[in-house]
């Protein structure tokens, strides 16, 4: 009884929680599909809340496709497609923090810990891109988790997770 549980969870937590978990998920998916404009820091925040925090506080998990979309947008926000040089995607946490810095997203120590923790999960997505794009070393190196920024930007621009 998804909607029932969702609505119960939405009751009584003040203005933030007048949305049902189902609605939260749908808005996230809509944002990932560009049906509604989301501020850049939203994607950084999604990385922080994904997992237990979302389940506990938002009473819903962050949809998997939204997580993929977050790391896609974060990576796209960090890389410079005009630069021909390769970028190391080995440290996903660093990537996310660079994005947060670039967009001046609010952050604190505990949130950075969450980012570090979730970066390990998100590195799965990044590894997948590198595996696809490294192409025998022409555009990147799987061993060193590096990719040509232009190739990566082109690929990520066409990629949609939701």
């Amino acid at each position: 009884m998804t909607a029932a549980v969702a609505a119960t969870a939405a009751v009584g937590l003040g203005r933030w929680f007048d949305m049902s978990p189902e609605e939260i998920r749908n808005i996230m998916i809509d944002a990932a599909r560009d049906k509604v404009a989301a501020p850049p820091c939203f994607w950084y925040d999604v990385v922080i809340v994904m997992g237990k925090t979302a389940k506990k506080k938002l009473k819903t998990s962050v949809p998997e496709c939204v997580i993929g979309e977050s790391i896609r947008r974060i990576t796209l926000g960090v890389i410079d497609k005009d630069k021909p040089n390769w970028i190391s995607l080995d440290n996903v946490k660093l990537l996310i923090m660079r994005y947060a810095e670039k967009h001046k997203c609010k952050r604190n120590a505990s949130e950075e810990v969450a980012v570090a923790h979730h970066a390990r999960i998100l590195s799965g997505y990044v590894r997948e891109w590198v595996r696809l794009l490294a192409d025998g070393g022409a555009a990147g190196s799987l061993e060193h988790m590096t990719l040509s920024q232009a190739v990566l930007a082109s690929y990520l621009s066409s990629l949609r997770y939701c």
């Binding site: 003040g14 189902e22 809340v49």
Partner: protein
Amino acid sequence: MSRVEVKEVEAGEVPVEIIVEKVNELLKRYELYGETRMMNKSAVSRLCGTIESRRISKAKQIEAVAKATGRYPYVVFAFQREKNVLCMPDANYYVADGIYDVHVIDCDGDRGARCAEVAANVADILGLPLPQEALLALADEGELCARNILPCRKRAERAEGQFEAPVERKGAEAGEEAEEVPPVVKRVMDTLLSMRAAMREAARQGQQSPPPQTPQPLPTQPLPTPQPPSPDPKGVLKEVGLGWLVPVLDDPASAAAVRFVMENREVLNALKDEEKRKMVVQAIKEGGIPAPSTLDRALEKWSSKEREKLLGLLSKTRDLYSLASALIEYLTNNDHCTFEAVKTILDTAAERGLTCEAVEQMLSQ
């Protein structure tokens, strides 16, 4: 902090000697006082508690003293606060007969924390374990924390403790409010709210513009049969922006609940009144159908229409189960999600221009 003086008198078999005179000096320094009693093992045990021989092995240092001297010349601190006595070393180490130099210290009033400090230091010197519970028998946690005897609880834990009372007082809502919401969750929710507002605004604008378009397709595509506008209820829900409602259609229990509320909306609205609710819950809990006359009397506050509807419901044996299950779930707070969910669904549907009849029709398919 001054400690009981421990002095090595001989290297080898007698590693430790406690100088008893220092005890009084120590107590004086802490402005503590008591009486010194010479006791045998059984008297000490009576004061300090029973002996658990299995724990003796922990007192290696004391055992060494006892073995070396052969006379068990113990010094025992008995910190006494009202009926609680904390002995240091505790009774587990009174291993043999002998004369014990027992300092019974008065720890009443504000002396409790000082006693706890001396006890902690003695335990430290003798290398003995000192459980927190024993210290808490002498002084409050706050005092022990202030004297660095016990580690201070984290602020958050303390805050939780402070919230316990309001939670009990105000119930579940207060509990939820007391729950800390991390800033990132607030940020996400704020963003989602603003996005929702933007989406609604866009939908409103979209709804305003289509009316001129809707009349156009009607003459061009006249439907031969007066069937519902869309054969797929899920499609309709998605079209009107209620896509999130689709899972309800897949769940027979939810769909049944929606139907129940659709049919009995007035009754359920009337049941929001606490007094009215109590009576109905009582009637349902007791089992069977309450006599209409008694029920009617109890329902004086109800409007005649509501009363009629409720009585009609209760008189239908076939519907009693669904009524009872739905109402009990809602009214006894065991799981009122059904009602809340259904209410949310209906409110949202009404807000978005979907009529109750349409929802009911979808659910009945």
